[in-house]
Structure formats: structure tokens, C-alpha cells
């Protein structure tokens, strides 16, 4: 399990740079990010080294921000490994809301961040299928 920071952004020049500058000034390190966008607005999703601090700082700066529970799954950085995980998840009937991936920094692994409907069920399913997911602390320390 891990905490993702989600931030509401208007589609206006300078908004993303503002968020990242605020985090940078607070010495918060961004581990991974993705942006979901529509024509009007975007949702910035962040994995950072200190989610509590990031949440507090962004809130103080007047952003609409929330913390979301996500799962970080570790897969080998090789062809077909994402497909395998997704097939296993499909087998367990796990619904994925969204996902984004980034390269791990060691062990030739890739990390995939999943937002699922039911996180407890997902956890149980991963254990059953032998899918490796990263503990919260380890993810932030990457």
C-alpha cells in the first residue's frame, strides 16, 4: 500500500511548475508522477518521499489536494511482465481505475502504481498470485 498525493490543476500556464516548485522548496522529492487531463482541468498524481509533508504544504498553498491509497507492484523490467500481472489481476476480477509505471532504481525492476476499486481484495489477490508489491516505506525510500 502507498499514499499518492492527488492535486487538482486548472489547465493554465504555470500551474504544474507552481506545484513542483512548492514541493521542491519544501525539500519534497518526487518519485513518480502522472497527469490525467481533460480540456479544462488535470489531476496530478504524485508519489513522493514524504506524502504527509507534501499534503500539508500544498494545502497551505491553497491547492485542492487529497491522499489516495494505491498499490505499487514490482515487476521485472522485461517484455511481457506487465501483461502477466494484468492477466493475473483480470483472473481475480480486479477492476483497475488507472495505473502508471516507472523504472525502479535497482534490481532491473519496474514499478507500476495501481489504483484499484477495493484495495484489501487486491492485496489478498496479489498474495495469492504471488505478485510482489512494495511496502509503503520502501517505496518512499527508493
Amino acid at each position: 500500500m502507498a499514499k499518492q498525493i492527488s492535486v487538482f490543476l486548472e489547465n493554465k500556464a504555470g500551474r504544474l511548475s507552481h506545484v513542483t516548485r512548492v514541493l521542491g522548496d519544501a525539500q519534497v522529492n518526487i518519485r513518480a508522477l502522472s497527469i490525467a487531463d481533460t480540456s479544462d482541468f488535470g489531476i496530478l498524481r504524485l508519489i513522493v518521499n514524504d506524502p504527509e509533508k507534501a499534503y500539508r504544504i500544498l494545502k497551505e498553498q491553497g491547492f485542492t489536494v487529497s491522499q489516495t491509497e494505491v498499490v505499487a507492484v514490482q515487476v521485472p523490467d522485461s517484455p511481457g511482465s506487465l501483461a502477466t500481472v494484468l492477466e493475473q489481476m483480470a483472473e481475480e476480477n480486479l477492476n483497475i481505475e488507472y495505473l502508471y509505471a516507472f523504472l525502479g532504481t535497482k534490481d532491473d525492476d519496474a514499478l507500476i502504481i495501481f489504483k484499484v476499486e477495493d484495495i484489501q481484495r487486491a492485496k489478498a489477490a496479489f498474495e495469492k498470485q504471488g505478485i510482489r508489491f512494495l511496502e509503503e516505506k520502501k517505496l518512499y525510500e527508493l
Binding site: R15, D37, F41, I43, R45, T64, V65, Y98, K115
Partner: protein, 432 residues
Amino acid sequence: MIWNKEKECMPREELDKLQLSRLKETVFRAYSFVPAYRSKMDAAGVKPQDINNLADLKYLPFLTKQDFRDNYPFGLLAVPMRDVVRIQSSSGTTGKPTVAGYTRDDIETWAELMARALTGAGASADSIIQITWGYGLFTGGLGGHYGAEKIGAAVLPASGGNTRRQIMLMHDYGTTLLGCTPSYALVMYEEFMESGLDRSQFRFKTGLFGAEPWSENMRKEIESKWEIDAYDVYGMTELIGPGVASECAGKNGLHLAEDHFLAEIIDPDSGEVLPYGSHGELVITSLTKQALPLVRYRTRDLTRINREPCECGRTHARIQKILGRSDDMLIIRGVNVFPSMVESILLQIPGIEPQYQLVVNRVSNLDRLEVQVEVSEGVFSDEVRKLEELEARITRDLDSGLGISVRVRLVEPRSIERSEGKAKRIIDNRKL
């Protein structure tokens, strides 16, 4: 509770007599000492001695915001500057600021009016009153302050801004009554929720809200969130400031201080006086103001007058809660739209804060209304689908509620411009 029973509960016939003698005096002074009034009245062919009863008021020409601009800054003052002890002015966001001068007696009148408003809202010498209307040229802060001191309450002159400190003051100093704009009361509530403080450690019981129009739904929202009684107070810089009219415990219209002001309702288009009970533009004539006498000033505020006796015992007529200004009214593809209508609709959607702005554009000869709504934490989701559903829901509700199709855009919190705590609700980009 009633601050000044003798005046506020004066029998109708006596009040009419008082109004007539004060009206004659006001018209005489305006004509004699303000060249702008003299030339307007001369042009209309009416002299002060033509005013012999209250109904003769209709022969007098109107005073408008334009007259304030034409006579900027001090041309409408009826006293020499040595008798003026205070100058207040509007923010001037829509052009030159509107300037008001006060003699010592005018300041006293104003304090009396705010004392009535505060007492009507339940305040007394035991109250601790936090004023978060801005202090300065804006009339809110000092108006509330003088009224609160007059009734002997303890005043916290907090002025506007620094919401976190406002909450701390309320909590630590035991504020019982808060004077501010209604939209700021909700901003403060958000801050209170974030503070993690215990509501039972506050003594906050009453809010006196004014300086911007707010709907009944907004009242419900503020009252249920804060668990307080919320009262409306009305006024504007030209008239004297807040306190011209205010609610009693009945919360069913605002008692207009009829010993100081005379009200008419006119058709905003034709200028014709409308029959009793009609909805239209409020026109105010001041009866006691010395520095800045007003004869038939067009407020642009839309309301109706109710002379039914009120169970509180006050004999002064009530004006209905003001829900729009004639210059705030947008006509979009032939449909009248007031910001207060949008506010009412938004407040019925769970989690939505009434922080919004209307932007009108004319695109290939067609008016388009965009409603920008701030996304608060209560409705934010990390999933696009949910935010799009929210956007669609707001669009649907506004479309059916307003009777025109609107485009809804979700915007970041606090991205909507606020001036002196008043939210700017309309941006009209049409070149008409």
C-alpha cells in the same frame, strides 16, 4: 431585542409626519447647497416648496451612480469640508470610486443604525463582536465597529484576511457574534474544519452578514455548518454604509430605518413608481443625512417593500432580502440570470461550496454563459471520471434551473477574484 424602541416602534402616523418634515428639510438643503441638485430640479421644473406630502416625492428627479461620477469627488456634499469628519469610499472596481462624506452627526446616525442591526441580531453589552469586514475606506469595518461599541459590546477589530488568525481569535477570545461577508463565513468554516479545534470550545452563536447579496440557501448552509443564527444587514457607501436595513429574529425581510430613510420601488426600465408590493428597484431618499443628502437615489438593488406589521413589534417597513442588482442581472439569450440563482442551485449539490463566477462571452453572435465553480476538497477526486460526472451534474442542474444551457468549468480554489472579501461574481465580456 430592540435597540431604540421609541424610534423603531413608532406608530405609523407619527412616523409619516416625521418623514414628511425631514423630507422637506432634506430637499431644501439639497437644493440650496448642492448645485447638481439645483440644476437637476430646475430642469425638472420642481422647487422644494412643491413637496407637501410624501407622495410628492415622485416629482423629484432621480440621483444615480453617474451623478456621483460626474461630481467626483466632493461635488454632492452639502456641507463645507470643515464640517466633514470622515470620508469613506467604494473600492472603485467599476470606475471611479463612489465618495461619501460624514459630519459628526452622520457618524452618530450610522452608529445608531448599526446598533439597531446588531441588537436585532441578538447582540448586547455582553457580546464579544468580531468584525472581519475590512477597516478602511470600505464602510463595513468602521460601520460595524461603531455600532458594536455603541451597544457596549466588546469589539475585536480584526478586519479582513488571515483566516487562520480569525479562527484563533474566535476560539481564544470567545467571539459570540461575527460580522463579515456571507462568503467569507464559509471560507472561515473551511479553515475551522482544518484547524481540528472543537466546536464546543467556541462561544460563536450569531453572524451578521452583509456587503454582498446572498440567498436563503446560503443562509441555510451557513447556519447548519456553523450552527449559528445568520442575519442579513443592508447598506451601501452612498446611503451611509451598512445598517440602512437589517433583519429581526423573524428573518423575514429587513426592517428599513424609516426615521432616517424613505424607500420607493420603481420599474428599473421606465423609472415609474410601482404600486405597493411590486418587485422592482429600490430608490432611497435620506431623511437625516447632513454631509451627503440623497434625494431619490437609485440603488440598483431589486426587492419589494412589505408594510405588514411584524411580530417583533417594529413598525418600520421591511424590504425583502435582496437577491440581485439590476446591473448584476445578466440577460442571456433573453433569459434573466442572477448570480443568486446560480448560488441557490449550486448549494443543493452536496459538497459544493458556493464559490463561483459567471463569465459571459459572445461567440459568433450567440451569448455563452460559463459558470466557473471552485473545486473544494469535499468534491475533489483523483479520478477524472468522477470529476467529469460532477461537472455534468452541475451543468444539468444549472441548465434546468436557469432555463438556458451553460458551460461549467471546474477551477482551482481561490482562483475567483475577491475584492474586500466580496466575491466578484460576474465577468461580462460582451461588447454591447
